[in-house]
């Protein structure tokens, strides 16, 4: 107790001494305040998201009406769409950059970066991150990497086009495709900076969660959001460096003439001077990050919806310890399943068996999570905020997409649908939609905390329903394309008459994609309009228990004006029998005779 108050004294003194007047640069740009850095991540992620989604609308247009002329294509793509007909090279570039942007820039940095930064100090009861400077550095690395990625779209030979996984030799040799020229070099530089950003952020999150929790905030009293962000950060720290080494070796192969991934290649009428390397090595390194990456994307979304579902069901999250256990189990397993992306690379069949076994095991903790969400709704008193709608949408997509994982994780079945639209459907639903729904839920839920204002509810409802319907409309039919044997990353399906009767489905998907894309304008408008003109928020608009709702609406550096609240209970005392209100914030001491349970 005494140390705590001394600390607070110091902090007060500190504030008194330095009346540092904040100007535009220190407040909005080179800030070290975690709340502002969170918002920086969000806005940058949103801008990248707009680019990524627009790209998908362009290539969906091509897939519905292959090799036809659209003036809009020429408008956006210029020389890559002569007379409005999309060039196959730019098609591949669009799917590549769409994947890269959505996976890394939107759903890793935009999601985890935003909410880990915003919520970790606020929910554990800390004045700020362990290192504000590292945190700012993390954002600016991310910003630079975003700028480089965008710049790469405009180079003469076009952006990277070897798929978001950039497998060599295709990505290593400029002769192999135009996209493997300068665009690919910029892609690698951008990703390298991105990884640095991610590591700086993750280390900070880990240290902050472990060391800076307020008095009474034991690990088993943490909101599940924090557990999710914490485990995500651990995954990032352990796996991103491997991607960094993969990217560096690829850069060496491209620029210095080494042969890590290259061997026995005949191209452009001559044998190239590479020998002894293995393209499959790259895949092992890539997927050693790539698979944990799926959970780096998914876990924060699951954490956010745990919080949103409990708060808006007015019930404790069901099976709190089981939820933590399943997060840990998923995280552990995610490191030993990467080979399921490589069943048909010719790797040792025994390895295939091992990876099938470990992969299918992930279904167990995932099922536990899904059932626990559903049980949390049971006998709840559900308050339908837009955030709640998106969280329920997340549970639906998580179940739908997770189920097809049982098929793809099975090496024997994967043979026939590997790299088809069945895979595209699977990962977009389970990872793309679930994560983006979680991100939307987070934005709607914590917008009052970020900007002190409320987002418009009706626009939120419209946004959810349009997104939910069009998202399933886009991705569910793709299962059937995949079961017909249609490979992904085909510029056009017209070369195979056996696919001619799938054209209608492709047109339908494109309609949904375009409507769904345009529907996001509702969100963007709502977001920016509400920042300036939304109604003023109250301190605790959703009647939540966690500590962020005990801070004042107006942001202050250090989060709490007085001393940091002391925690007496877990974050889920909703509708507790005997209590008057249906929520009891974590900083409320136990009533006489009340059992904490946590």
């Amino acid at each position: 107790m005494s140390t705590n108050s001394t600390e607070n004294h110091h902090f007060q003194d500190h504030l008194m001494e330095h009346h540092h007047e904040e100007n535009f640069f220190t407040k909005y740009l080179f800030t070290m305040d975690h709340k502002m850095i969170g918002k920086q991540f969000l806005i940058t992620g949103m801008i990248m998201g707009i680019i990524g989604v627009m790209m998908s609308m362009l290539f969906r247009l091509e897939l519905a009406y292959p090799e036809q002329s659209f003036p809009i294509l020429e408008f956006f793509l210029g020389k890559w769409a002569p007379d409005g007909v999309m060039d196959p090279n730019i098609y591949l570039a669009l799917v590549t950059i769409h994947g890269t942007i959505m996976v890394f820039f939107v759903l890793t940095a935009g999601l985890s970066g935003t909410f880990s930064n915003l919520l970790i100090p606020l929910q554990i009861g800390a004045r700020d991150m362990a290192s504000g400077f590292m945190n700012a550095l993390s954002y600016w690395f991310f910003f630079t990497s975003s700028v480089i990625m965008v710049v790469s779209l405009f180079v003469e030979s076009g952006p990277a086009a070897a798929g978001w996984t950039v497998y060599p030799p295709l990505s290593a040799l400029p002769q192999a495709m135009p996209g493997s020229g300068a665009g690919m070099t910029l892609w690698l530089i951008s990703m390298t900076l991105f990884i640095v950003s991610s590591l700086l952020g993750s280390l900070n999150y880990i240290v902050t969660v472990l060391n800076m929790r307020t008095k009474g905030m034991s690990m088993t009293r943490l909101p599940l959001t924090i557990w999710a962000f914490f485990v995500t950060a651990v995954l990032g720290v352990l796996s991103f460096p491997v991607l960094l080494s993969a990217a560096l070796l690829l850069m060496f192969d491209r620029l210095l003439g080494t042969s890590f991934y290259l061997s026995d290649i005949f191209m452009g009428g001559e044998v190239l001077s590479y020998s002894g390397g293995s393209p499959v090595l790259y895949q092992h390194l890539f997927w050693f990050l790539g698979h944990p990456e799926v959970y780096i994307i998914l876990l924060p979304a699951l954490g956010i919806s745990s919080e949103v579902i409990a708060t808006n069901s007015r019930k404790p999250i069901f099976g709190y310890r089981a939820m933590i256990g399943s997060i840990l189990a998923i995280a552990f397993l995610s490191f030993i399943v990467w080979g399921h992306h490589m069943f048909v690379t010719g790797m040792n069949p025994f390895l295939g068996s091992v990876f099938t076994f470990t992969t299918l095991l992930i279904a167990i903790p995932s099922a536990v999570k899904a059932f626990n969400y559903i049980t949390t709704l049971w006998k709840g008193n559900i308050q339908y905020t837009p955030a709640m709608l998106f969280s329920i949408g997340l549970v639906s997509t998580f179940v739908t997409g997770g189920l097809t994982g049982v098929i793809l994780g099975d090496s024997a079945l994967d043979i026939n649908v590997h790299d088809t639209y069945f895979v595209v459907a699977h990962f977009h639903i389970v990872m793309g939609l679930s994560a983006i729904f979680g991100m939307f839920a987070g934005v709607y839920h914590w917008f009052p905390k970020m900007y002190g204002r409320m987002m418009n509810k009706s626009m939120g409802y419209a946004h959810f329903w349009l997104t939910f319907i069009t998202a399933y409309g886009v991705f569910f039919p793709m299962h059937f394309l995949g079961m017909a044997g249609l490979p992904r990353r085909y510029y056009s399906n017209t070369a195979f008459p056996m696919f001619d009767n799938l054209a209608d489905i492709n047109v339908l998907i494109t309609y949904f994609a375009i409507i769904g894309g345009i529907a996001q304008l509702i969100f963007i408008f709502n977001f920016f309009y509400s920042i300036w003109r939304g109604p003023k928020a109250t301190q605790n608009p959703w009647k939540g228990n966690s500590l962020e709702w005990t801070t004042p609406v107006e942001h202050i550096h250090g989060n709490w004006p007085g001393s940091i609240p002391v925690v007496h209970r877990w974050a889920y005392d909703y509708s507790k029998p005997g209590a008057e209100e249906d929520y009891i914030p974590q900083n409320v001491p136990l009533a006489e005779g009340e059992e904490s349970g946590h």
Binding site: F75, P88, L92, A162, Y167, L170, A176, I265, F266, M267, S275, K315, F318, Y320, R321, A322, T345, G346, P349, S353, T356, F357, L361, I364, A367, L377, W378, K379, G380, N381, Q383, Y384, I392, V395, V399, L403, T404, I407, D410, A412, N416, H418, D419, K457, W465, F476, F480, L481, A484, P487, Y490, F496, P497, M498, D500, N501, I505, F525, Y529, S575
Partner: protein
């Protein structure tokens, strides 16, 4: 000029929206409404929508199965294919059962427990028995799938041969396929990218005695009922040899030789008589006729299924499965490496 007018339009549209928002805010303020708080009416409407649209989604999945179920691949044309399809069907059955139970429950709960004034949620934090139950049931179902899956996998990857398989090399390059038959000795001659020259597109080492009777072709003919051991090579980037009708796929990796073995069981002539295939051909030809394109007849086909560059979408080779006699006759017409190089 066009661009400018589009920008002006967009700006005007945004300004109009902002004004509309302000008007609706002012009018709701006048009525004293708390426009942005979730009201009981909202809970009711959104809860009902959850049931309506959620169930609509579940029903639409049934509709998709009915409307597009015919698009799935025809019966497997390889010996191991039926094992894959059996496992596939069991897995699909299980995941569909879960889907059609869990999704309706989710949307029903979302509807049933929509917030009402005066009600209080039930404080129900955990139940170990329940959690054990839904850890145990998936674990059991997965145990079955894993054991069966690993069995199928090992029969695929380590086939037991009653007779010696025919060895055929499939050679990938941007953006076409080449086949090399091992000839009378059933042994492929040594080949490497260093031997590629002129007509020798797959780089056969003509000094190697085993190469003399090798036969290089641009069409893949296979005798029915005979195991075929495919060896895959690539000269430039990674390709993937995808034989959907045979439930087979393997990557072609530069610098390495990969392999996959299967036994074709249905000839091209036979599969063309298959009812599902006939319907498929009819449907496709109706579409093609409407667009003024040639009539198509079903052929087995080899596709490239790993992104390999601009013409990835058109990297294919026809596969003809025929009787042993037809196959022998065809092979006899082809020229050996010794004759061509």
């Amino acid at each position: 000029m066009n661009t400018v007018s589009i920008i002006v339009l967009v700006v005007l549209a945004i300004l109009t929206l902002v004004q509309v928002m302000r008007i609706s805010e002012v009018s709701s303020e006048i009525q004293g409404g708390k426009d942005n708080e979730v009201s009981e009416k909202d809970n009711d409407t959104q809860g009902r929508l959850m049931l309506l649209i959620g169930m609509g989604f579940v029903i639409s999945v049934v509709v998709m199965y009915i409307a597009w179920g015919r698009h799935t691949l025809p019966m497997p044309s390889s010996a191991h294919g039926s094992e894959i399809d059996g496992l596939w069907n069991l897995s699909m059955l299980i995941i569909n059962i879960v889907f059609f139970i869990v999704q309706p429950i989710l949307f029903y709960f979302a509807y049933k427990y929509r917030g009402k004034k005066g009600t209080k949620a039930v404080h129900y934090a955990h139940n170990n028995k329940l959690e054990l139950f839904w850890t145990g049931v998936p674990a059991l179902a997965l145990a079955v799938l894993i054991i069966w899956g690993l069995n199928v996998w090992s029969t695929l990857m380590m086939p037991e041969n009653e007779e010696e398989p025919i060895v055929i090399e499939l050679y990938a390059q941007q953006f076409n396929w080449t086949a090399r038959y091992s000839g009378g000795d059933n042994a492929l001659g040594y080949a490497s990218v260093y031997d590629i020259e002129g007509a020798n597109i797959v780089g056969v080492d003509t000094q190697d005695a085993a190469s003399a009777d090798d036969i290089v072709t641009k069409e893949l003919h296979l005798p029915v009922g005979k195991p075929v051991l495919f060896q895959f090579r690539s000269q430039d980037v990674i390709h993937s040899a995808y034989f959907p009708h045979f439930r087979a796929q393997m990557n072609c990796v530069p610098g390495a030789i990969t392999n996959f073995q299967f036994t074709p069981t249905v000839t091209t002539a036979e599969i063309r008589q298959n009812k599902k295939v006939k319907n498929h051909v009819e449907e496709v030809n109706a579409i093609r006729a409407a667009k003024g394109e040639d009539v198509w007849d079903f052929n087995y086909v080899l596709l490239c299924n790993k992104i390999c560059g601009a013409a990835h979408y058109n990297m294919q080779m026809d596969i003809i499965v025929e009787t042993q006699d037809e196959f022998d006759a065809w092979l006899k017409e082809q020229k050996t490496v010794a004759e061509t190089l």
